[in-house]
């Protein structure tokens, strides 16, 4: 058994760890709220864009197959945009995504996959496994992501695809389902499929097109892709902070329990010491009499 002095030290260090994890929990909750608000605020826009795309694509019908982004690219490589976190201490957030990625990669030719990465953790993971990280996006830092920069990434992916080196593009990220549920997933991004756009939806009767359906569609599709990137980033960030808050809350609770248990042992030892001393004194006075 540890001495009484060591016990006191341990209680103290557990206490300071508890303070830190509690602070991190609070930081994570405020950030979580911020990203959640942004995710909610961006929803009307993406719904509107997605609605327009599906209505227009049902109007265009078969013409859509001719659009360049609707057929697989000429190359034989696959591009994956992987969205992870910059920092650790967020529970199994990144690990779950990596596990999903490995499952997805199983049976595929890994050497034919290139990666674009958001988040330092993802870059570390992929480089340590010798995967081909073509681009590690650090500017701007993930937490300052806004629509404009997400759009730049979207354009980058689209132009890589249109350049012909790749046959398809995927996004790997953690979808935010609820405060305690984030589902890592790898979803197809390009080429677009009419099904994914909800092409079979309500066929709208002739609306006036200004200037014409095809050119509207052509400028609409890039925007649709941009909103998808933006939403994936926001969802990933929200999941990250939800996950971190949860992990830090668990750590704080565990530290609390540990502190209590240690305090129990410490008090018992202290009492033992006092009793022993008292016995000594009493024994001493008895002997003197």
């Amino acid at each position: 058994m540890a001495g009484i002095k060591e016990l006191r030290l341990r209680i103290k260090s557990v206490g300071s760890i508890k303070q830190i994890t509690r602070a991190m929990e609070m930081v994570a909750s405020t950030k979580l709220r911020r990203f959640q608000d942004r995710a909610v605020a961006s929803r009307p826009y993406s719904e509107e864009i997605a609605g327009l795309v599906s209505r227009l694509s049902s109007m265009l019908g078969d013409d859509m197959e001719d659009q360049p982004l609707f057929s697989p690219g000429a190359g034989d490589r696959t591009l994956v945009l992987l969205i992870t976190s910059d920092r650790g201490l967020c529970g199994a957030f990144n690990t779950n995504l990596f596990r999903e990625l490995e499952r997805w990669l199983a049976g595929r030719d890994v050497s034919k996959h290139d990666f674009f990465v958001y988040g330092r953790k993802g870059a570390q993971y992929l480089t340590s496994r010798g995967r081909n990280v073509t681009r590690f996006i650090t500017d701007p830092p993930m937490e300052e992501i806004d629509y404009h920069n997400a759009a730049l990434t979207g354009r980058m992916l689209t132009s890589e695809f249109a350049g012909g080196a790749y046959k398809d593009v995927f996004i790997g990220y953690s979808a935010f389902e609820s405060m305690v549920k984030y589902t890592p997933q790898i979803t197809p991004f390009l080429p677009l499929t009419p099904d994914a756009l909800g092409g079979a939806g309500e066929a709208q009767s002739e609306a006036i097109m200004e200037p014409d359906a095809k050119s509207i569609f052509e400028s609409l599709v890039p925007r649709y892709l941009e909103t998808r990137i933006y939403n994936s980033l926001l969802e990933s960030l929200t999941s990250e902070y939800a996950s971190r808050r949860f992990a830090m809350k668990n750590a704080t609770d565990a530290a609390d329990d540990m502190q209590k248990a240690l305090k129990g042992v410490y008090n018992r030892k202290r009492q033992e010491g006092i009793t022993k001393e008292l016995l000594d004194i009493v024994g001493g006075t008895e002997a003197v009499k």
Binding site: S42, L52, Y147, Q204, Y230
Partner: protein, 140 residues
């Protein structure tokens, strides 16, 4: 046919305007379009310019750049990248942007190369000028 139509201006960051009014006009890529109650369904690609609306609460305007407008069942939905009411336009920034764009156009346009840069400079010049115009029109 005067009557209420509802208008929603939606950007990636927020819904910046959600109101009803009696008439709306917005800039499309092929010129300005006005919408009254009972307008036929329409989808339009938007240009850079001024979204004007007239309603019971008076007239107001907004700077918008790019995006789409959809008119359906007396609801106008404007989906755009940027929307700024006149009071929020940063005039100083706009005039700096205009200067920069002009300078870039002067050096590049004669050189014939860098086509993309010229296009981009033109677009940014158009935005800056429009911002200045709207700001000077509504801000006294």
């Amino acid at each position: 046919m005067a009557g209420p139509i509802s208008l929603r201006v939606i950007t990636p960051e927020a819904v910046t305007l959600d109101t009803t009014c009696s008439s709306i006009s917005f800039p499309t890529t092929d010129g300005s379009v006005g919408v009254l109650k009972g307008h036929a369904p329409m989808v339009a690609a938007l240009g850079v310019g001024e979204l004007q609306l007239r309603g019971d609460a008076g007239d107001s305007a907004m700077f918008i750049a790019g995006g789409f407008a959809e008119v359906r069942d007396n609801v106008v939905r404007v989906v755009t990248d940027v929307s700024e009411p006149p009071t929020e336009i940063d005039v100083e920034r706009a005039s700096k942007a205009a200067e920069r764009a002009r300078a870039r156009l002067e050096t590049n346009e004669s050189a014939e190369g860098e086509h993309l840069d010229v296009l981009r400079a033109r677009a940014s010049l158009a935005r800056a000028i429009m911002r200045q115009q709207i700001a000077s029109k509504y801000r006294r």
